[in-house]
């Protein structure tokens, strides 16, 4: 029955991560941004919480909870810091791809290390198409050839997640000369394989402690992930799970910004009273709060629909679009509440705003989300 209670199990996750975010993540967020990576000490502490595989099945070492758990977890972790949240999700997009494309053997081999806290720095990098649009084959920049039963990769990966601090890469590739989605294959490449060159690290608007960059592949031998009967479906499933994570993180960042603005508005005095008493500003904050609350309700409904098997990638894309648009209002307005102080790095709001924007862009951008969602709306209504 319609119910908005987090529930006992998830409350425990929520409280644990909130504590961790408050006491560990926030402390170190600026430092991590400065050095461009998450300090090892924090990785170790997070690994001890055993949250990496919270919504993965038990046979690969996961906690076996459904996707609602990750929605709650990553909102809370990103409330601490969005960039660190994305970095601490060490399986990341690549892990999801292995989950949906791999054979049972491959899943156990590459995912189970996450269940051991001593592998705190084990990471999966992911080399995907340039736009991150799930259906955009034209922007696939890596091609595969098969020679004598073996696969070899050539090309350059852009915006590669964990491009230089991973242990394995998950690589999306098409055959030379093909643009057919059905021919896509996903490969696993060991970091130390000959032919791999890591290029420059991306210097970007936000998420600076999450390392992305360029990786070149020259005749690199690769293992194909061969567990999927329906690659397009597996692709969509990987996106559904990843986009729900991204949406939760954008939500967490926005909540952090809103809460900060609410606190600040009650302290800061202008024209003889706290600025929260000035209605122009108070109304703005009310609107931010409405958007945030609505975004979470929508995200939760979508996550529940995914659990029930009722949600398509289009539904998830629509929810993500709603949240990205909400964040685009909440975060800049939070800066506005702080005025000049919001623009200065002494306060974290400008960082959360940059990180929220970067999350949306890294996951494909609003244009992609709305495009994917609109395809489904047209399909549902009998269009082509």
């Amino acid at each position: 029955m319609i119910n908005f209670e987090v529930g006992e199990d998830l409350k425990l996750v929520q409280d644990t991560i909130h504590e961790f975010s408050l006491n560990e993540v926030r402390e170190i967020a600026r430092e991590a941004e400065k050095i461009g990576k998450v300090p090892e000490s924090l990785e170790k502490k997070y690994a001890e919480l055993s949250m990496f595989l919270i919504d993965y099945p038990e046979n690969v070492g996961g906690a076996g909870m459904d996707v609602r758990s990750s929605v709650v977890l990553y909102e809370e972790l990103a409330w601490g810091d969005p960039a660190i949240a994305l970095s601490l999700d060490t399986p990341g997009f690549g892990g999801l791809v292995i989950r949906f494309f791999g054979t049972d053997e491959q899943k156990v081999k590459y995912l189970s290390p996450f269940s051991d806290p001593s592998n705190f720095s084990y990471r999966i990098g992911s080399v995907w198409n340039r736009t991150f649009d799930p259906y955009d084959t034209e922007s696939v920049t890596v091609r595969y050839v098969s020679k004598g039963g073996k696969f070899f990769l050539n090309g350059t990966g852009y915006f590669v997640h964990n491009f230089d601090n991973d242990d394995i890469y998950v690589v999306l590739a098409l055959p030379e000369g093909s643009e057919d989605l059905k021919e896509l294959r996903v490969f696993i490449v060991k970091k130390e394989s000959p032919g791999i060159t890591t290029g420059r690290k991306d210097d970007k608007i936000g998420l600076l402690s999450f390392r992305t960059g360029v990786v070149e592949f020259k005749d690199v031998e690769a293992e194909v992930l061969s567990g999927s009967q329906d690659p397009v479906k597996s692709l969509e499933e990987s996106y559904i799970y990843f986009w729900l994570r991204i949406a939760s993180m954008i939500l967490g960042a926005s909540r952090a910004a809103l809460e900060y603005a609410i606190d600040y508005a009650q302290e800061r005095v202008a024209f003889g009273q706290p600025i929260a008493k000035h209605q122009g500003l108070a109304f703005m904050i009310s609107d931010m709060a409405i958007l945030l609350e609505g975004a979470r309700d929508y995200l939760w409904e979508t996550a529940w629909s995914v659990v029930e098997g009722k949600a398509s990638i289009g539904d998830v894309a629509a929810a993500l679009a709603q949240i990205a648009v909400a964040a685009d209002k909440i975060c800049p307005d939070a800066i506005q509440v702080l005025g000049g102080h919001g623009y200065i790095m002494d306060h974290p709001v400008e960082k959360w705003a940059r990180d929220a924007k970067a999350l949306s862009l890294l996951a494909g951008s609003l244009i992609v989300f709305e495009d994917v969602a609109s395809n489904y709306i047209v399909k549902e209504n009998g269009g082509k």
Partner: protein, 407 residues
């Protein structure tokens, strides 16, 4: 853990009301808008179906309320079922929805503030199944809308009676209602503490109906002016009785008026969601009929994007409503969330109906295409039951916990 599954009761009511809205309400919508009235046969059909008594508690002659908790264990579903039902009814037609016989917005204050005897008096009128009956809620005056503290209808004690003087306006079903819940002040200098709510029956001496308003939308719904000239109301009709205001509740009638909003605002928001959905669905139909065939791609692409935007905003509004209703059902303070749902849903209805009209272009002008009517109907949802601005005040007073102390 959070979930969005409809309970069997919710599912049944949604299907039943959707069917009714589709087959009985929608076909009347445009004609009712033209003639500014709803046929009596239709109203009687509602009465026979038990709609009039649908929100009347069992102990006053109604059936068991749908979603009313059975025993102590089961949780109440009333607010959630109400929200689901309102969305479907408004989807059928929001103006006809307001015509549905029953206590209407007068119900909650009688239930919250009234004594058992008063509740019996108020709800007994709905036992009559030969005629439609209404209750109504009269708060707004010519001199104030949102600023309830500026209430100026007076109630002067004279022995066992209160003498009411003043004018109420914009009262939905006020003229034909069997009784109105009328708010008046015993002493303006007391501010909100001086507010009293009276149950005023139709033929009370000194009570008369003024003009019936002509409106932008919701034309089939009756909006009346009520005039009180030395209207004598016995103290038994003071909601809650005199001691209610002296001892039980600080803030008295004002607080009662505010408390009913926690229940009614999500319902009003649900209606706005229903309107937006109706416009969206009509638009999709229209696109399928007229547009997809041979139009140039760029414009079509833009329409698709607008559809996504409408769809996701409607869903967001719906879940905000459900959340506020759920909080009401499980007894969590939901004032902030009720206002959030109302503020957002009204804005969504505005955006969706407006964009739908723009997409339809000249076809949008036509009344027969329904959307122009929905556009006119929806505007007031950002005004009645608290304007969008009032909702935002309610919200920020609960966000700024260091400056204000509300729950």
């Amino acid at each position: 853990m959070f979930d969005f599954e409809l309970s069997p009761a919710m599912q049944n009511i949604r299907e039943m009301i959707h069917w009714f809205a589709k087959t009985e309400i929608r076909p009347l919508a445009i004609e009712a808008d033209r003639t500014h009235q709803v046929p009596r046969e239709f109203l009687m059909k509602l009465v026979k179906m038990g709609f009039g008594g649908g929100s009347i508690p069992g102990r006053f002659g109604g059936g068991k309320l749908l979603g009313e908790p059975e025993g102590k264990k089961k949780e109440s579903e009333i607010n959630r079922i109400g929200a689901i039902a309102m969305e479907e009814l408004a989807w059928g037609d929001p103006a006809i929805l307001l015509n549905i016989p029953g206590p209407g917005l007068g119900g909650p204050p009688v239930m919250i503030m009234g004594t058992p005897e008063q509740q019996k008096m108020a709800f007994e009128v709905f036992k009559d199944t030969e005629n439609p009956h209404w209750g109504a809620y009269a708060l707004t005056e010519p001199g104030f809308g949102s600023d309830v503290a500026a209430l100026s209808t007076t109630a002067v004690k004279d022995g066992d009676y209160y003498i009411l003087n003043g004018t109420k306006i914009f009262i939905t079903n006020g003229a034909r209602a069997d009784w109105n819940v009328v708010f008046a002040t015993i002493d303006k200098s007391l501010g909100r503490a001086g507010h009293r709510a009276f149950l005023v029956f139709k033929r009370t001496p000194g009570f008369k109906v003024g003009k019936i308003e002509q409106k932008m939308g919701l034309r089939a719904a009756e909006t009346a002016e009520l005039i009180f000239e030395d209207c004598r109301v016995h103290k038994d009709f003071l909601l809650g009785g005199e001691e209610y205001y002296e001892k039980k509740v600080k803030g008295g009638g004002f607080k009662g008026a505010m408390k009913t909003f926690d229940q009614t605002r999500p319902l009003v928001a649900a209606m706005a969601v229903g309107i937006a959905r109706a416009a969206y669905e009509r638009l999709v139909e229209w696109i399928n009929e007229n547009y997809m065939i041979n139009r140039p791609i760029p414009r079509y692409q833009r329409i698709r994007e607008l559809l996504v935007e409408m769809d996701r905003e409607i869903k967001t509004a719906r879940y905000l409503v459900w959340q506020a209703a759920w909080m009401g059902d499980v007894g969590k303070p939901n004032t902030k969330h009720a206002s959030m749902s109302k503020a957002y849903a009204a804005n969504v209805a505005q955006r969706v109906t407006s964009k739908a009209l723009e997409i339809m272009g000249r076809d949008g002008l036509e009344r027969d295409n329904l959307v122009e009517k929905l556009y006119r109907d929806q505007k007031v949802f950002d005004i009645f039951e608290g304007t969008g601005q009032i909702q935002r005040i309610v919200i920020y007073r609960r966000l700024f916990t260091k400056l204000y102390h509300y729950t």
